[in-house]
Symmetry: C2
Subunit: 202 residues, 2 copies
Amino acid sequence: MRTKQSGPIGRPRGFDPGEALERAMLVFWEHGYEGASLARLTDAMGISTTSMYAAFGNKEELFRKALERYTEGPSAYLARALEQPTALGVATAILAGTVRTTTRPAHPHGCLGVQGALAASDSGRGVRDLLAAWRNDGCSRVRERFQRAVDDGDLPPDADPGLLARYVTTLAFGITVQAASGVGRDELQEMADAALRNWPLP
Amino acid sequence: MRTKQSGPIGRPRGFDPGEALERAMLVFWEHGYEGASLARLTDAMGISTTSMYAAFGNKEELFRKALERYTEGPSAYLARALEQPTALGVATAILAGTVRTTTRPAHPHGCLGVQGALAASDSGRGVRDLLAAWRNDGCSRVRERFQRAVDDGDLPPDADPGLLARYVTTLAFGITVQAASGVGRDELQEMADAALRNWPLP
DNA sequence: AGATTTCTGTATCGATCGATGCGGAACTCG
DNA sequence: CGAGTTCCGCATCGATCGATACAGAAATCT
C-alpha cells in the first residue's frame, strides 16, 4: 500500500494546467494574441474564465506562459539546432526545423513568435514587444553560436557571425510568413536547401 | 475666365478622400487590421464614423482600399523592380526596396502586407486571406519575371524561376519581420547584399 | 464531526467594438 | 428665392471585449 500524499489543503483543481496551457497556446498560435478572445481560449481550454484567471493571472500572463511552452515545445528545434557540431549543421537544422514546425498538418501554420502579435493595438503593445524581444533573442543566440564557430576555426576567420545569423533568421522568419500564406512544406524545404548551398556566404 | 464646372448636386465633401485614405493606411500599417479601431482610424482621418462609412463602406472595405494605396505607394518599388533589365537587378531592387520601405524613420516599421493580419480572429479572416493572396501574388509576379529571364537567356537554362522567386520573397518577408522587431536599416541592407552575392544560387 | 481553505459555475460588470438613425447644415438645381 | 440632394455631428445601437463578485461545492485540517 502507498501512503496518501498530503496534498495542498482546499478543493483541488478540476483540470490539468499543463494541458489547458497547451490548448491555449494552440489558440494563440492560430489567431494571434489579440485575435484570441477569452471566450475562445477558455472554451478550448475546457475551463471557465474564473478558473483561467485563478490559474494564470490574466490574458497577457496566459500568453507569456503559452510562449514559454511554445519555446520548449514546437520551437525546441532551435535549442537542439544550436548544439549541432558545425555552423552549417546549425543553419541547416534551424531552417529544416522552421519549415517542419510551420507547416505541420493539423497544427496552425506559421510561427507563434511571429504571428502572435507583429502589429497590435495599444493594449497589445506589451505582447508585441515581448515577441520582438523573443525573436531578437533567437537571433542573438545564433550569432553567439556562429561566433564560437569562428573562434573554433569551424568558420573562416573573416566570416561575420552577426551577418550570418541575420541571414539565417531572416530566412526563418520569411519561411514562417510563407507558411502562414499557405505555401507547402516541400517547396520551402527546397528553397532552404538552396539558400545554404553557398555557405558561409561568399 | 473659367467656366464653373457643374459639380455633383448636394453638399460637397468636407475632406479629401485621398488624404483620409492615406492616414487610414498608416494606422493599419502600424497597428494591423484588427488592432486599428474605428475610433483611432477616424480620429487619424479627421472625419466622423458617419463620413467614413459613407465614403468607404465599412472597415474591411476601407482596409482593401488602404491596401491598394499601399501597393501603389510605399510598395510600388516592387513594380519598378520587376522592370529592371536583369534578374539580378530585379532581386537586388526588391530587397533594397523592402529594406528601405520597412525601416523608414517616421513611418511604421515593417510591411502592411505582412503585419496587417498574419493571424486574426474569425471576423478578420477575410482580410487575412486577402493579404495571403496579396503576398502570393507578389511571389508569382517575381516568378514570372524570372521565367522570362530564363527564356531570354539572362538566367541559365537550368535555373528554377519558382525557387529563385521563393528565395527572394522569403528574404523580403523575413526582412519585414526583422524591421518590425526593430532591426536597423544598414544591418538589413548588408545582409541583403550578402544574400545575393551568389546569384543565381549555386 | 466542524472549521478552514480553495476551486468552480453563473451572472454580470464597465468599456469598447463596429455600425446606424436622425436632424440640421451646405450645396446645386429650377 | 424655394425645392431637392448630399454631407456631417451627435447620440446611440446590440454585441463582444477582458475581468470580477458571489455563493456553493469539494477537498484538508484539528
